[in-house]
Each structure stands twice: as structure tokens, then as C-alpha cells.
Amino acid sequence: MRRTMLYLPGNNPNMLLRGHLFGADGLILDLEDAVSRSEKGPSRILVREILKHRDFDRCEITVRINGLDTEFWRDDLASVVPYGIHGIRVPKVETPQALKDIDDALSALESMSSVPVGATKVFCLLETALGIWNAYDIARASARVTAIIPGGEDLAADLRTSRSKDGTELDWARRMMVIAARAAGVDALDTAFPRIGDEEGLRRETEFAKQLGFDGKSVIHPNQIPIVHEIYDPTEAEIEKAKKIVQAATDAAAKGLGAVSVDGRMVDLPVVRRAEYTLERAGVITGRGR
């Protein structure tokens, strides 16, 4: 479940050590934008030591490395991959070739450590028009790719526009992300909402992203977590209805019946799948383990 993934600045011990207490589904230890050039080295050391020695409870741990067009990304990977992170976030992915480079670097590091080759997942940030255009091919470029994420500020800049309150400029990119992700069988995760104090704006944007089909959203402040969870969590009524549908489908299958009826209405396979997804989100049944 990736309803929320919280960015933590890679040079801030306070946030790195306490970030898991805020209840996000995942943490993103950030070595990129949150860290100034002169602090890249110390941050890499700090993040490495915290990964080696600290516990993050049940949070999914990813590290946002510096871009493949920088001198930093290989050292970033070498500092974190041997210590059992779930994945890396790669900024500004534009082509499937980038995944080949990442895949090779990860495999080399995994084979030199106790991490099984292929275990480190890749979350691709698509922050340029070219990246968005190649979304499906990028998502299919490596079995490591677990999610694609549209950019926010960088993408708006590349599109020669700016972030607006209603997000018009990112509308098409978001829709494209969901279609590409579903076609490729990976998660679609939405970009972070930048205005920390604007709870209504966050709520509106998250509801829109959920309606489009996004699996969750990056967050940049702990206060954003409960709002996003509230929108993504199924209500009691939704859970009860989903249980009924799944039970009816199970009973019908046991009797060799194709048709399923719930509360007097015929239910087809897509509805059953949606009900199963609702129960996954509610933690009632286990997910597909991506």
C-alpha cells in the first residue's frame, strides 16, 4: 500500500530518525533536491549510517538519488543499496535506456552485497515532457520498475508554464501516468502538493488524483499524511459492500455459477476486482505483492 510516501531531507537527523513515527506508508530519504551540493557527501554518510543502524517499523524505505546527469548518482547508490532499502527514486527519467543504466548499476551493487539481485525496486520520476511521453516504455524497461510518478515543479517548468492552484498544466500528464502505469502493471503515484498550509487544496488535489486512478501521493510534510489517508481509506460502508461482493463471487465460483448477484443487482468481474482492491486497501485481504 502506497497511499503516502513522505520526503525526508537527507541531511536532517531529526527528520530521518523520527520520520517513521508520522504514519506514512513509505519514506523517501532525499539525497537530491533537499540537499545542497556541498552537503551531498555528508548526507550520503548520514543516510547510510541511519539505514545500517535504525529501524523504520513497517514503512517502505526508498532513497531519492541524484539524477543520472550528475556526478553523484553512482556514489548515492553505493551508499544505500547494500543496506536493504526497498527501492530508489530516480529523478528526471526520460528514456528506457536510463533504466538499463540503473539496472546494471543496481545489479552490480547487489551482487557484491547480501541483497538478492533484482530486489531493489525503482520508482521513476518523470519530470520532463520527454519522460511523460515515454512513460509506458520506461515503466516496461525493467522488472525493477514499481511505480511511475509525474513531476510537479520541474515538469511545469519543462512545459514552459508554472504550477497553478487547480493544476491544469499537469492534468494531461497525470491522466497519461495512470494509463501508462496500468498498461505496464506498475503503480501510479502522484506528485507532492507543494502548499503545506493549504489543507483544502491538498484535499481537492488528492481526491482528483484518486479519481483518476492514482495509488497514492508523495507528501512533503507530516500534516499532509492523515488528509491523504482519509481520502484513500475505504469507508466502513464501502468495505461492507466489497465484502458482500467478494463473498458472493466466491460462493458463485464454488457452485460453478458464472453470474453473481448482490442486493438484487448483477455483478460482473470488473466490479469484483474493484471490491477486492477495496479490501486490499482496507487491509482485509493481502495485496498482489508488487
Binding site: N11, N12, P13, N14, L17, R18, R37, S38, K40, G41, P42, I45, L46, R48, E49, I50, K52, H53, R54, D75
Partner: protein, 95 residues
């Protein structure tokens, strides 16, 4: 990464909560350690042990003075800041 000219003084860390500021400078004696901050009276021995462990692990044999201004850093953070300050002192990472 390569060695560059060794600076006289190098720092890593901050004075923010749960962090520490580590300063390393050339000294006339081998490895002088000075620690200041709220929890020092209780944790001095453990902190000195961590600092020595990190520097020994990095192969440090120079005459250096290490000053730690602590603001509640756990040993993981202290170790990371000592390592970063020392690597800066040696010119291995950017100052």
C-alpha cells in the same frame, strides 16, 4: 573522489536538535577530543568511544583536535558527522 589539499579545519553537522557539529583541526598532539552540550556529562565516555571507533576505522593517525558541539545526537548521527568531518579534513569530500 580524490585527495586534495588538506584544510586546516573541517566541519560537518549542524547545531540543530538531534544533530551535532563536529570540527576537526590540525593539532600538536595526537587526537584531542573536546565535547560540549547538554548530555555530555552522562554520555561522554560512550561518545568518546564512538569518535575513536570511527576515526580508527578510517585509519586516522594524524595529530588532530576533534571538537563536538552536541545537541542530542544519537551515536549513529555522531559517527556519521565525525566521518564526514574527517573526510572533509582529508579533502576526500567537498568542504
Amino acid at each position: 573522489m580524490g585527495f586534495t589539499e588538506t584544510p586546516r579545519t573541517a566541519q560537518a553537522g549542524t547545531v540543530e536538535s538531534m544533530d551535532c557539529l563536529v570540527t576537526i583541526s590540525a593539532s600538536g598532539e595526537r587526537r584531542q577530543i573536546e565535547i560540549s552540550g547538554g548530555g555530555v556529562s552522562r554520555f561522554r565516555a560512550a561518545m568518546e568511544q564512538k569518535i575513536n571507533q570511527v576515526l580508527d576505522g578510517l585509519g586516522s593517525s594524524e595529530n588532530i583536535a576533534i571538537s563536538v558541539q552536541d545537541n542530542g545526537a544519537v551515536d549513529t548521527v555522531l559517527g556519521a558527522r565525525v566521518e564526514a568531518a574527517y573526510l572533509r579534513f582529508r579533502g576526500v569530500i567537498d568542504a
